[in-house]
Structures are given as structure tokens and as C-alpha cells.
């Protein structure tokens, strides 16, 4: 047990890889066994990750469960892991959603099951690694390799324009990552020139003094990498394609975990490494965030494809999170991180329900759907819960996150926050209107071929209920009692702001010196 607790992060990260080795010898024809073993192993992984929560000390911002070994001495890169309150919950979210999406794919994934479960578990390794890495090179390695399993998942089991979507997803994110790599190398070299040491240790790199002009350039480089992943409004075009064409499990992971990396990257890397640039550029980024909120909402309203609607709603939600993060107040950042988790739970659940409907109706066109409520009461109730959570109904988790973001941001950007608030109303419009059309619409309006499917529409079976149940429970739990989450997130957020405020004083000094404050 002592060994387990000492190396818990390594064990968690590489357990799925070991699981892959367990799965490899199983005959690919034995699909049931493959699925069950993979799901069971991912459940074990989730339970193991709960130990992190159990032994996490909530009252400190310092990184915990630290592991540090030499990796590449020549570059000063080390195998350096550690988590704070934010990565803790993102890791838990990752392990949970991997289990959920493996469980959800029993019906959807029919061929190449072995490849599928292997890729899912491989993906989990790299996602966990990215959240736990405190060494920039290590982070980058995990970050970029994560693309590969996801790319295969979209390309091999997707629907429609799957190859186009997979390639677009891959190239878009790769281009962003490579520009980000440029920024990382630059910071690494500047640190070397200042101290004479090669290091990728994040905590040491935080202390690099970079001239403000250069910081802005580097911030733009890192911004592109992270913004494409988030995705922020003008860089979002890969998202609807990838989300729509991916299999359900892929969409869940994509929306639930992969989108979090952009925000996490800003929080952990871009802003603390380049604080002055972040402070200078924050107003523009908030504007982009607000544009994203409205744009995502408007585009969602007119979507004809159910899954595409949910995908675009992500653009809107991620806009909220960006606004909260870049408002730079303690409340708004707490809200942003909280909303990050909420988005993973809510949108993950929405994609699961969309997947269930698609499995039964073989269509995702809203106009072909309707009358499902009569056939499947359990599905309706649970689907409604997650729709309302996503809309931000008080008592469910979405409300807390959005509320905190809006209160917090109001202090920094009152006008923009008021505009952003309308995003919640639009969210109600597109989600509830979608729900009404899909679930209650008169089935007689339908086009004939799908009548047949509706007739045999079966309600959720036990496996499917188990799949969504953890998410539904979390929606209520996080909606009624956010304290255990916020208690652990808050110290990290406060520390983050302290680092930033330290620079804010410096930044104000420059402003006064150069006369910027008059302008």
C-alpha cells in the first residue's frame, strides 16, 4: 500500500497500458470477453483513482503525490508528476468518463472491437499523463500523442465524413501544437540563457523573466496551441466535424476530457509562464470568449443534426469558461474550473443520450425524430436531467459554475458579462427546443423510413442506465453540494492569482512608466 501511494500517479497513468498488454493475447473474435475485460479494468482504474481524492490534502496549493526522476538529463527534462486541486478532479473525470464510454460502446462498436478497446485504454494513459505532468517536455509528449488514438477512433469507427473529420481534427490540433512547441522551445532557451541550465521543470520555468514584448509573441504561440484545443471561437471549426462523426464513446471523451486540455494548458502553462502577456491580452481574449458564447449559441439554434447541436453547444460553454478564466478574479476562476468539470459531466451525458437515440433510430436528423418520450420514459427523464443541467437550472451542477463565472467576471468586465449572460438564455432556447422536437414532437410529421425504428424503440436497458447513472448522480451532487470540489480547487486558484498579482504590480509599474495608463 505504501508503494501504491508513493507511486500512485505512475501506477494510474500506466495501468491502462498494462491493461492493453493484458488484452493483446485475447483472440479478436472473442469480442464479449474483450469488452468486459476492458470495461472492468477501466472500472478498477477509476476506483484506484478515487484514492487520490481520499488522500488529497485540501488546504494547500502545493503539488501533491510528487514523483520526480531523471528522464533526459541533456535537456534537463525529468519525469516529474504531481497534482493540485484542479488536476485532481480532471484526472477523476478522465478515469470516470473512460469507464463510462467503454461501457457505452457495447452496442455501437460492432467491428474491430479489440482495436477499439486498446485505443481507448491507450488514450486514457496519455490523457492522465497530460494532467499529471509538471515537466513541460513530458507534458508535450503526452499532449501530442493523445491525438493519435483519438484520430484512429474517429477515423475507424466514425460515421459519415469520418476520414475528413479525423484528418481535420488531427491536422488542426497538430498545427496548433507545433506552434506551441515553438513557444515552449523558446521559453526553454531563454531560461537557459538566463540561468545557464537546461530545464523543463515547470516550477523553475515559472521564474523566467521574459521581456514583455517577447512574452506577447510567445503567448500568442502558446495561445494558438491551447485555443485550438479548447476550442475558442475562430479556431473551433474542427470541433463540430470531429464530434459529429466520432462514435459515441469518442464524442464523450472528446467533449468530456480532450476539450479540457486547452483550458488546463492556459491555467497551468500559458498564463503563469507568461503572466504579463496574459494580463495585457486578457481583455481581448474575454471578448473572443463572449463572441464564442453567442456564436456557439446561435449556431446551435439552427442545427439540424442532433449531435452537431450538442457539439456547437460546447463552443458556447467553453466560451463561458474562457471568460471566467481570463477575468482573473478568484470567484470567476473557481467557477471556470468548476464549469470545466460540469461541462465534462453534462456534455458527456448529452452525447451518451444522443448516441442511444442514434443506435435505435439510425438517424440524428432532428426532423426525423419525435415521439420518443412515449416509448422510453426512463430515457426521457434522464435525458431531460442532463439537458437541464447543461442549461444551468438551479439545483443542478451547470448553474453553480455559470453563476460563479458570471459573478466573478462582473467585477472585471461588467458590460461583457451582461452580454455573456444572454448565452444562458440562448442555451435554454436551443437545448429545450431540441428536447421538445426530439422527444415530444408529433411522430406523424416524420418521414416514413424512421417510423419503423420508432415502433421498436426500446427503453434504456440496465447497462445503459449504469452507464449514465454516475453522471446523473454527479449532476445532482455537484449542484447541491459543491463544497468538496471547491475546497480543493480554491487554494490552487488563489495561488494562481497570487502569482499573477505579483506580476500585476510589475505590469502597472510599466504602464505608469510608459504612460500607457493615460491612454
Amino acid at each position: 500500500m505504501a508503494f501504491f501511494m508513493k507511486y500512485i500517479l505512475t501506477i494510474l497513468i500506466f495501468f491502462p497500458t498494462v491493461a492493453v498488454l493484458i488484452l493483446l493475447p485475447i483472440n479478436k473474435k472473442n469480442e464479449g470477453l474483450l469488452r468486459n475485460v476492458a470495461t472492468l479494468l477501466s472500472l478498477i482504474e477509476f476506483i484506484a483513482s478515487c484514492y487520490l481524492f481520499r488522500y488529497f490534502k485540501p488546504d494547500t496549493y502545493k503539488f501533491q503525490f510528487i514523483e520526480k526522476f531523471n528522464w533526459i538529463q541533456s535537456f534537463g527534462a525529468s519525469y516529474f508528476l504531481g497534482i493540485d486541486g484542479i488536476s485532481l478532479f480532471l484526472i477523476l473525470l478522465t478515469t470516470l468518463l473512460t469507464f463510462v464510454s467503454l461501457l457505452s460502446s457495447y452496442r455501437y462498436i460492432k467491428d474491430h472491437v479489440k482495436e477499439f478497446v486498446i485505443l481507448m485504454l491507450l488514450l486514457e494513459t496519455f490523457m492522465l499523463g497530460t494532467f499529471a505532468a509538471l515537466d513541460v517536455l513530458l507534458f508535450y509528449v503526452f499532449w501530442e500523442f493523445m491525438l493519435i488514438p483519438m484520430y484512429f477512433i474517429i477515423g475507424m469507427w466514425g460515421t459519415g465524413k469520418r476520414i475528413y473529420s479525423a484528418v481535420k481534427f488531427f491536422l488542426y490540433t497538430l498545427a496548433g501544437s507545433l506552434i506551441m512547441l515553438f513557444g515552449i522551445i523558446y521559453i526553454f532557451i531563454i531560461h537557459y540563457q538566463q540561468t545557464g541550465n537546461f530545464t523543463f521543470n515547470l516550477i523553475r520555468l515559472y521564474n523566467t523573466n521574459i521581456p514583455v514584448n517577447l512574452q506577447i509573441l510567445l503567448f500568442i504561440a502558446l495561445f494558438l496551441g491551447f485555443a485550438i484545443k479548447v476550442p475558442i471561437f475562430p479556431f473551433h471549426t474542427w470541433l463540430p466535424d470531429a464530434h459529429t462523426e466520432a462514435p459515441t464513446a469518442g464524442s464523450v471523451i472528446l467533449a468530456g476530457v480532450l476539450l479540457k486540455f486547452g483550458i488546463y494548458g492556459f491555467f497551468r502553462f500559458a498564463i503563469p509562464l507568461l503572466p504579463d502577456a496574459a494580463l495585457i491580452l486578457a481583455p481581448y481574449i474575454v471578448v473572443i470568449g463572449v463572441i464564442g458564447i453567442l456564436y456557439g449559441a446561435f449556431v446551435s439554434i439552427v442545427q439540424k443534426d442532433l449531435k452537431r447541436l450538442v457539439a456547437f453547444s460546447s463552443v458556447s460553454h467553453m466560451g463561458f469558461i474562457m471568460v471566467g478564466l481570463f477575468a482573473f478574479t478568484a470567484i470567476s476562476i473557481n467557477g471556470a474550473v468548476y464549469q470545466l468539470l460540469n461541462h465534462g459531466v453534462d456534455t458527456g451525458a448529452l452525447f451518451l443520450f444522443v448516441g442511444m437515440i442514434y443506435e435505435r433510430m439510425h438517424t440524428r436528423q432532428i426532423k426525423d425524430l419525435g415521439g420518443i418520450a412515449k416509448k422510453a420514459p426512463i430515457l426521457t427523464v434522464l435525458f431531460l436531467t442532463s439537458v437541464l443541467a447543461s442549461v444551468g437550472l438551479p439545483g443542478l451542477n451547470g448553474f453553480i459554475g455559470e453563476f460563479l463565472i458570471l459573478i466573478g467576471s462582473f467585477r472585471s468586465y461588467p458590460v461583457l458579462t451582461i452580454i455573456a449572460t444572454s448565452g444562458i438564455i440562448f442555451a435554454a432556447v436551443y437545448l429545450l427546443w431540441m428536447f421538445q422536437r426530439v422527444m415530444f414532437q408529433d411522430p406523424h410529421d416524420q418521414i416514413a423510413p424512421y417510423d419503423h425504428h420508432l415502433e421498436f424503440f426500446d427503453d434504456m436497458n440496465l447497462r445503459e442506465i449504469i452507464t449514465v447513472l454516475p453522471l446523473i448522480i454527479l449532476m445532482f451532487l455537484m449542484g447541491f453540494y459543491p463544497a468538496p470540489f471547491l475546497d480543493r480547487i480554491d487554494p490552487s486558484v488563489l495561488h494562481f492569482l497570487t502569482m499573477l498579482n505579483h506580476h500585476k504590480i510589475f505590469y502597472n509599474a510599466i504602464k505608469i512608466k510608459t504612460g500607457l495608463s493615460n491612454a
Binding site: N70, W71, I72, Q73, S74, F75, H112, L137, Y140, V141, F142, E144, F145, L147, I148, Y151, F152, G155, M156, R162, I163, A166, V167, F170, L171, L174, A175, L178, I179, L181, F182, I185, Y186, F188, I189, Y192
Partner: protein, 517 residues
Amino acid sequence: MHNIMPAIYGLNSLEKSMLSIIPEAVVILFAFIVLFLTFFEKIAKSKNSYYLSLIGIAFSILYVVMLSGRNLTGFYGSVVFNGYDVFLFIAILLSGFLTVLVSKDYIENFDLPYPEFYSIILFGISAMMFLVASNNLIMVFISLEFMSICSYILTGYIRGNARSTEAALKYLILGTFASAFLIFGSVFIYAAVGHLNLNSIHTYLENISYGNNGSASILSGMGEYLSIGLLLFMVGLAFKMSLFPFHAWTPDAYDGAPTPITSFMATGIKIAAFAVFLRIYVLIYNINVINFNDILWVLAVLSMTFGNIAAILSANVKRLLAYSSIAQAGYILIGIIGGGFYGYSGTLFYLFTYIFMTAGAFAVVIIFENSDIASLDIKNLSGIAYKYPFISAAMALFMLSLAGIPVTGGFMGKFYVFSAAVKSGYYWLVFIALLNSAFAAYYYIKIIVKMYMPVKEDSNVSCIAGEGKNYGIVNGNISEGIILAVIICLFFTLIMGVYPQIFINFANYSAASLASL
């Protein structure tokens, strides 16, 4: 190690000279042995030549390891053996080893005469080693010609095949031009400085640069000769490195040559050319009249961009890899431009990873060629992953490595050379290179898309229907040798991406002895 042969050390210079070329000599010896096998028809038809070549290469590696740590010069300073050579000899020998491993099936398939083939490969390997070891302009020329002639013969080895013959002829004519440039450049350099030995030239130039002999006036008048000489010399080598304006032979020669030879050209010849260029660069170009880094900058950018654009447009796997090798040459050049200990070490590291990902990719191409796929058109690869799971996974990994995705050696190599360039202040170069990598990823994953994500319409092949067997041994003509080659490449590509420190140390050791010259 040092007390094994102390006696020899004190002896006369011929024995010392012989000691400095033992690794090359071993390969040549085995080349002759293999060649003599052709006299005996019965033996010639068996697999002896194959095994003998492998043994020869293995012996040579053994000698390199035994001699490592020594600084030897031989033949009046025209051949050197030091840490730099240890690294590159091992690289070249491994490349040769992989070439021999993948050749067996291919030449059986095409019914080519065996022992001569292996023998010429061995001669080629020894020529490359001589090229790397040469420390004298004449020696550089001789070994480069030796290497080129071997590669001309091998390129046209498929007798009666129009493509192969055409490729060889093109390669021969263009290659001769390049050699002419090289020798012409040497003449100019000699005219300017009066030395042929690289170390002597280095000392001479250094004295002028630092003004030890009074002033820079000594070079006046000779300065232009030197610049022209160095430029022409660079053209000759750039041809072998297949940098952009001198690349014209690459796609045709790579495409037409027997695939094992393509692999050999893409790995061995390129490494040897880069290695000798790096040595001459460090000794001569680095301290000189015109800023060669600007010229190299342009060459690197053009090679990357051209290689990538052309690769995107090509529909044939072999041709695609040929163009990709031009782009890769551009990336490798960035390390040299970046310069300094860090940059040279990075270049060597990249070269080392480059062997395995390229040789691996070509090995897989050979397997595809040997199996039931008629042409190497990318379209025909549709759904092949379900027929050959292991091979395709390996191919995917090599492609990702060439594209520079982490967990593979390609990423670490790229990271190394790029950070060296940033360190020296070449920000734009690195930026362009990174954009190029993003661009290049498209055609590398195009192959993965075809292998793993077949579209119903273009799958005329039975690949999807056919149930896959592991390890791709389906037709019986895929031997263990080629699978071994793939596994070796896979292993090195992964280990260099996951834990590259051992190889970086090796490259550092090599770069240190290069810089100390």
C-alpha cells in the same frame, strides 16, 4: 582495452594506419569473400552470401566497438578514427545490416543474382565508412566516388527493367556532374590554402582569422578562390544529401531502384554524406569568408518546403518516401545550421533516428511489394491493416515518427535540432520548419488513413475481407529476416522516443570528439 595492443601502438606507422581502417577492411574482406562465392554455382545459389554479409557487418561492428575510445590517424593523416567515427560507423553498419536483412526476399522475388548484390552492398558500406573517416580532400573524393559507383550499379541492378535502368542512368549522369563539382571545389580550395588535409586547412584558416600571422591580408586574393571552392564543394555534397536544388535525381533513383537499395540510399548514403559534410563544415566552413549559414538556411527551407509539397502530390509510396527524405534532409540541416556542440550532437542524434524510421518504412514497403499488392500506389493500401496488423502498426509508427509525433524517435530528433537552432537565434528557420512539419503530417497520415480506414468505394482489394494472420507471413515469401528488420527499427524508433538519454550520450560523445579536432 588499452593494454590489449600497446605493442602495436609503438610500432611503425603502417601498422598504425592499418589499425585505423580495420572496420572498413573487415567489410571489404567479406565483400571479396562473398564475391568469390559466385565462382561456385552451387554455393552461389544458396543463402550463404546473405549470412556471410550479415556476419561481416557484425564483425565490423565488433571491431568498431573494440577500437572505440582511441584516436587513430592513418596514411599520413588522410584517414582518422575517433569518437565521431565510432558513432557514424555504427550508424552506417546498422543501416547496411538492415539493408541486407530486407534484401533476401526481394532478390529472390525478382530472381536477381545473389552474391554480387550483397558484395556490392558491402563495398558500398565500406566506401561510406571511408567517406566518414576521410580527413583529406582527395580521400573524400575517392571514397565518395567509390560509394557512388556502388550505388549506381545497385540502382540499375534489376536487369531489363526499364525503370531501374533509367534511374541508374539518370543517377550516373547527374552524380558524375556532382563529383565534378566536388573535385573542382577541392582544386579551388587547394589553390587558396595550399593544403589538402582538413586539419591543416583548419589550422591555416584559423591563424588567418585570428590574425596570428599578422593580418587577414594573406587571404586577400585567395579569399574568392576559397569561397568559390567551398561553394562548389558544397554543391557536390548537397547532391548526395539530396538538398533541394540538387535533388533532381532523388525521386527517380529512389523510385526505380530495387527497394532495399532505395532504403540503403536513403539511410546509408545520406548519413555518410551528412557526416562528411558536418566534419568539413566544422573544420572549414565554420570559420570563413562568406556566411555559409545563410546559404544553408536557404537550402534547408527550400528542401523542406519542396520535399513536403512534392510528397503531398505523389501517389506512390516509394516516391512519397523519396520526397519525404528530401524534406528530412532539410530538417537535419537545421541542426548543422544551429551549430555548436548542442547542434552537432542533435544532428547526429537525428541522423541515428532517421535510419530506423526510414529503413523501417522501406522494409514495410518491401513486404507490401512482396505480397499480393500489384503496385505501390497508395490507393492499393486500402484496408491493408486488417490483413497485416503487425506490419501496418509498425508502418503507422514509422510514419508518425517521420512526421515527428512524440513517443517516437522522430520527435526527439526534431526537438533536439530545433532547440539547437533556437539557441543560436534562428527563430524563423525553426518556425518555418514547424509549419512544414504540420504540413508534412498530412501525407504521412494519408498512408495511415488508407491502411486503417478503408472507404467502401475504393476497396477493390480483398484486404478487408481476408482474415488477418499475425506477423504478415501470409504468402510464405516473407522471411523472418525482414520481420526482424522491422522489429529492430520499431524497437529503436520507440526507445529513442521514450528514453533517448543513452543515444544522446552517445551522440554527445561523438560530437565532442568532432569539436575537439
